[in-house]
Symmetry: C2
């Protein structure tokens, strides 16, 4: 039996509830498909930060490196500034392990209500492929005349040819395995240097993939189109910031951020990839056992696919669809009354 070494970081808040729930589902899938998952847990979190002053130890990345994948819950806690919790854990992992493709499938699932009028499952089935390592998320820049009326801040975004090309290539290849269509998010009409460069590279990549159809919109009107014409989209490729916006907006039109999964993928497998739900640690409902585990489980399915078990992944996805179809096994955010545990048990059962 194949055995995969998985680093688990439940993190904070509901991360600690949905991660164990999802693990039980993934183990059920492993039993059915003949592979084993060996979990190694790390308590890296805002809670750890409060205790030790660090989100993760200095050698955190080295500790994670031997694993086959990382399974993350959510980090964040009121009182811990984001630049600590994120730049102290999430972003260094995404970058340190060259997880340059943030892949976020957005699909209207059964039992989930989209806020859009007259839209059915067939209308909302897209993947946002977000550049995850460079671009607008940057520590470059700074402040001058601090504390005076002349104070000003410069924020720099960095786009490299290598960084842009590899995410575009990923998107085109993914589209080739889906419906063969890629949309590029740009803003070359307002953002003078980076976005025209992005457009140039997109045009070249499109020329190299004649079998894939393309479209391109400025981020402002693209956001509008997500709401007005979600059925126009198959794969949407975007910079770090634009992809962040589009994947939350996409999760909203797909009905719930409680079911949205994501993978931070290193496609060349030079380091482990990381799988985590799109939602945060939700401190307001943490500890009550009512959080929706579906996003975490779905992220787990993406992890199984990445580990070489596409059939197990499909099975988990089918289990999600089956379990969500039954009102008795939906959590509160979806109008049901099931607990985190009950949903997980139903999912394991369905497998």
């Amino acid at each position: 039996r194949t055995r995969h070494q998985i680093a688990v970081i439940p993190g904070d808040g509901i991360g600690r509830e949905v991660v164990p729930a999802a693990i039980s589902v993934l183990e059920a899938a492993g039993r059915r498909h003949g592979f084993e998952l060996a979990w190694k847990e790390y308590d890296w979190s805002c809670e750890r930060y409060a205790r030790t002053g660090q989100m993760m130890p200095e050698d955190g990345l080295d500790q994670l490196r031997p694993s086959d994948a990382i399974f993350l819950g959510a980090v964040g806690y009121p009182g811990v500034p984001d630049h600590v919790s994120l730049w102290g854990l999430l972003l260094p992992i995404r970058r340190g392990f060259a997880q340059y493709a943030c892949v976020r499938p957005l699909k209207l699932l059964p039992g989930v209500t989209t806020p859009l009028a007259g839209r059915a499952a067939k209308d909302i089935d897209l993947v946002v492929v977000r550049e995850n390592n460079e671009g607008e998320y940057s520590k470059m820049g700074g402040r001058i005349y601090e504390g005076t009326d002349d104070e000003l801040v410069i924020q720099e975004a960095v786009f490299t040819r290598r960084g842009v090309d590899r995410i575009l290539a990923y998107a085109f290849e993914l589209a080739g395995r889906r419906r063969g269509h890629v949309t590029s998010a740009t803003k070359s009409n307002g953002i003078f240097h980076s976005m025209p460069f992005w457009d140039e590279r997109f045009a070249l990549m499109a020329a190299r993939h004649p079998g894939v159809r393309t479209a391109q919109y400025h981020i402002d009107i693209l956001s509008a189109h997500f709401v007005q014409h979600p059925d126009w989209f198959d794969v949407v490729v975007a910079s770090n910031l634009f992809g962040d916006i589009l994947s939350d907006l996409g999760a909203a039109i797909a009905g719930s951020i409680g079911v949205a999964a994501s993978g931070n993928v290193n496609p060349e497998r030079t380091a482990p990839s990381m799988f985590e739900p799109t939602h945060g640690s939700a401190p307001d409902i943490a500890g009550k056992g009512i959080a929706n585990p579906v996003a975490q489980v779905w992220s787990g399915a993406m992890m199984l696919e990445h580990l070489g078990h596409p059939e197990a992944a499909r099975d988990v996805e089918r289990a999600i669809e089956a379990v969500l179809s039954d009102p008795a096994t939906r959590t509160r955010d979806l109008g049901g009354r099931a607990t985190t545990r009950e949903v997980a048990d139903a999912l394991a059962q369905a497998l």
Copy 2:
């Protein structure tokens, strides 16, 4: 009778159709309310660029300066790169005249269908106040290793204390005249320098306006909330880029970009303000006389208010609501069959 000098730039495409249509409506309002509008037209456009190599003459801003306001249609034409049409006309005017507040009211109007399920007019009535002069829209930055595999681009965004404070102040004052609530769009969890600075200034401005309630969301989840909870918002204040995105997204949830108005306002009146629809030049339907003039007319109403005629502005807004309530006077984009001219005539009539 008061007489206002208005510079008119119809621009390209449907701009040339909706601007004359709107002018006839605003003149009707002037007749009723006892003021006169003297229009001076400028042919600045992509068409002019094709002829002369310039969107506007060197002394363009000087020519506009004596006017009381600028009434713009839309610029843009296939084949003319955006960095020409926009950085050669629109953006220099916004900046050169310190039109730092881009004000975009978003309201679900009668006869307009929102793509959101179960939402009525009372749920969608907000104003996006967008910083219009600095921030992410910047020529600062550049390229190195051009044409090689090492090519990289740096794009800088600039946020000044003065620039941030004045847009925040504008938003708080506007909220004081509306429902007393301001939401700030941020991304201080991902964008390291500029957004934490924005948050700091927002907190200080909020402390100075104890009568106004506030909220603050990261742009990703804020975009999701626009779709899921449009009724949460009164005034939404945002940087140049975030405001651009939110105003198009807001126009989409309010049912149509064909009715979305905007003002580029210089609140201190040290130079003329400019009023223009949010939509573009729509070359695909230009020349057919079918473009919806409502966004242009509504922008005109904002101009009348700015010129000191709030009652005339309210009258024009009421005329818009009345005319849109009748299916016979809706353009195609709203499911009707009326022409641009017919809608304008109905609006003038309703006044």
